[in-house]
């Protein structure tokens, strides 16, 4: 192809100027296409410069752009209106770096024993596990009541609104509210953590139930299966792998939250030690040691969760 072109080029300099329609510099509709099928031109979307627009049409593009612009606008507005209290930013950053160096560079235990810390870590783990356990049970019941393909639409809407409300209240507030009724400690922490887990898992489970093939449920209904038979023979086996994945994800979140609320709501566990180390003893090395313990625990938990999830699939 290219060979013949290069050979032909020197042979036809004379004919070149006579060539009627030399390609214009500005892009224009291809004459061949428009002459052969003028209708086609109607359907081609061109920009002002005549380029053919490519990409998906529809609302998605503009909505993405508008959302991004609004978010950036709100961010800028936020930065302009924050009350910084005339903080010396450079000094604070330098101090943060220094503190981080002490914290992560020289971890050391002075106020806690290592065994005590392990026990506290296990308490946090236990709080997370119990909350996940109750949250999974309550979430499963909630999901059965609000999944669109099996639930009564009216009940479903009520349950969905209730679940949305439960999820909207931060976990700490649930714990603080329940600690008035049950006293500070394990019970309030577990109940408080359970609320948000149940709301979260109800939504996740109901979504995985909704994804399942509607023919299976229909077939079981037609064969006269009872509600619970449908639940345990069709719904549970079909969505068990999704559900385990969600449950383990929630367990990881609950463990992290149990640590956090231990610090903020005095709910016990390693979070409380963390809080004491920094807010009462002002000991960065201790804080660093506890942080390392937490990070190692979280990583191990994630590895274990990945293994179990692989088995279920």
């Amino acid at each position: 192809m290219s060979d013949s072109a290069t050979v032909a080029a020197p042979a036809s300099p004379a004919t070149l100027p006579a060539f009627p329609s030399a390609p214009p510099l500005t892009p224009q509709p291809d004459p061949e296409t428009s002459s052969s099928s003028p209708d086609l031109e109607k359907h081609i979307d061109r920009s002002l410069r005549g380029k053919i627009k490519i990409g998906a049409k529809g609302l998605s593009g503009p909505v993405i752009k508008i959302t991004a612009l609004v978010l950036i606008g709100l961010t800028v507005y936020g930065f302009l209106t924050f009350d910084y209290k005339n903080i010396d930013f450079a000094q604070a950053v330098a101090k943060t770096f220094h503190n981080a160096q002490v914290m992560f560079g020289q971890p050391k235990l002075t106020y806690n024993s290592f065994l005590g810390l392990m026990h506290a870590l296990f308490v946090s783990f236990a709080l997370g596990a119990l909350a996940t356990f109750f949250g999974a049970i309550a979430g499963f019941i909630g999901a059965l009541l609000c999944a669109r393909n099996i639930a009564n639409p009216l009940v479903g809407n009520v349950v969905r609104a209730f679940v949305a409300f439960i999820r909207a209240v931060p976990t700490v507030l649930w714990i603080l509210i329940f600690s008035v009724a049950a006293g500070l400690g394990g019970v309030a922490a577990v109940v408080g953590l359970t609320f948000h887990s149940a709301g979260y898992l109800a939504k996740a489970y109901s979504e995985s139930i909704e994804e399942m093939d509607s023919g299976v449920i229909e077939a079981l209904k037609a064969s006269g299966a009872s509600y619970w038979q449908i639940v345990f023979q069709a719904i549970l086996p079909a969505s068990i792998s999704y559900m385990t994945a969600w449950t383990f994800l929630r367990f990881e979140i609950n463990f992290a939250t149990a640590i956090a609320v231990g610090a903020a709501a005095g709910a016990g566990g390693i979070g409380f030690d963390l809080f004491m180390a920094s807010a009462f003893y002002f000991d960065l090395s201790e804080l660093g040691f506890i942080t390392y313990v937490i990070v190692i625990a979280v990583v191990l938990l994630e590895l274990a969760a990945t293994k179990v999830k692989a088995k279920v699939r």
Binding site: L74, Y84, F125, L127, F133
Partner: protein
């Protein structure tokens, strides 16, 4: 309760052994009689798995309850008590309405912090994840480093960052901002790396074949293909960060969390309830908006 546990466990052990032996058999000689046995034993096998799972969960439950000093009866008893307490005390009254402007001011600050944190963290995480993804074929060592750094930021709890920053920044908006920033940054970096690897692998390969430069690949291939996923994640993280910033606010004495904690400790429960209601309204409004947006863009 423990007795029961020990009674069941030999059975579970036998079940475990039989599953193990069958697995080993399956590995060594996958022949015809094996298949026949498998067909007949599906229900027994399922039963065994259920028993095993039940035992593991029950053990975990008992050990955890002992460790956390939790018992179910107290837990259930606390519900009616809490319900009565909520309906009698946690109700806004006329006096508390005078605190509403202060509450709304703090809440809007918290919401703006959550939005600003998420947007900044997402921008940084996106450029960071470009270095960490394998599709752009940057240095593999750099990619590994990026992943380790992201894992570090993700696994250090935001409470720790808040505590660390409290020493240097004090009771400032920036304490909560940076604490949430680090945690969000870690999480989003990992998510974006996964998204880029998953979503844009094909189109990056195609662009590579046409001889596009790295910058062209990023701007023409990766960004358009992952933008909707990124926006969706940003919306989700804003919602999460509003809740998280409540907690951090309690610790660092800033924002809406502090406002709640103050009323709660002053036993001004009527005003505290207003805080809860305000948070719920805002979070649900954001959730509804983001669900709508997600429906259009995904």
């Amino acid at each position: 309760m423990l007795d029961k546990l020990f009674k069941i466990s030999p059975r579970a052990w036998r079940a475990w052994l039989s599953i193990q032996s069958r697995l080993n058999k399956g590995n060594s000689q996958p022949e015809k009689p094996q298949q026949k046995e498998k067909q007949t034993s599906i229900f027994t096998k399922r039963k065994r798995v259920f028993t095993l799972v039940f035992i593991v969960v029950a053990t975990l439950y008992l050990v955890s309850s002992a460790a956390a000093e939790f018992n179910l009866i107290d837990g259930l008893e606390s519900f009616p008590k809490a319900f009565i307490w909520i309906t009698t005390y946690l109700v806004p009254d006329e006096k508390s309405l005078s605190n509403l402007p202060a509450i709304l001011a703090k809440l809007s600050e918290t919401v703006f912090v959550a939005i600003a944190v998420t947007v900044c963290a997402a921008l940084c995480a996106f450029f960071f994840s470009l270095l960490g993804t394998t599709t752009t074929k940057t240095n593999p060592w750099l990619a590994r480093m990026v992943r380790v750094v992201a894992a570090f930021f993700r696994n250090v709890p935001d409470v720790v960052w808040a505590m660390l920053l409290l020493f240097s920044f004090g009771q400032n908006v920036l304490t909560g901002f940076f604490a949430l920033f680090f945690a969000t940054f870690g999480l989003l970096t990992r998510t974006f790396i996964e998204t880029i690897d998953e979503v844009s692998a094909d189109c990056v390969e195609a662009l590579n074949a046409t001889g596009a430069t790295t910058l062209q690949i990023v701007f023409q291939g990766i960004i358009p293909s992952v933008l909707s996923v990124i926006i969706s994640w940003i919306l989700y993280m804003i919602e999460t960060n509003i809740r998280a910033s409540t907690l951090i606010g309690i610790l660092t004495a800033t924002g809406i969390g502090y406002q709640f904690d103050m009323y709660y400790k002053m036993m001004n429960y009527a005003s505290a309830s207003l805080v809860v209601i305000a948070i719920v309204v805002v979070v649900i409004a954001i959730e509804i908006t983001s669900t709508r947006i997600r429906k259009v863009i995904m």
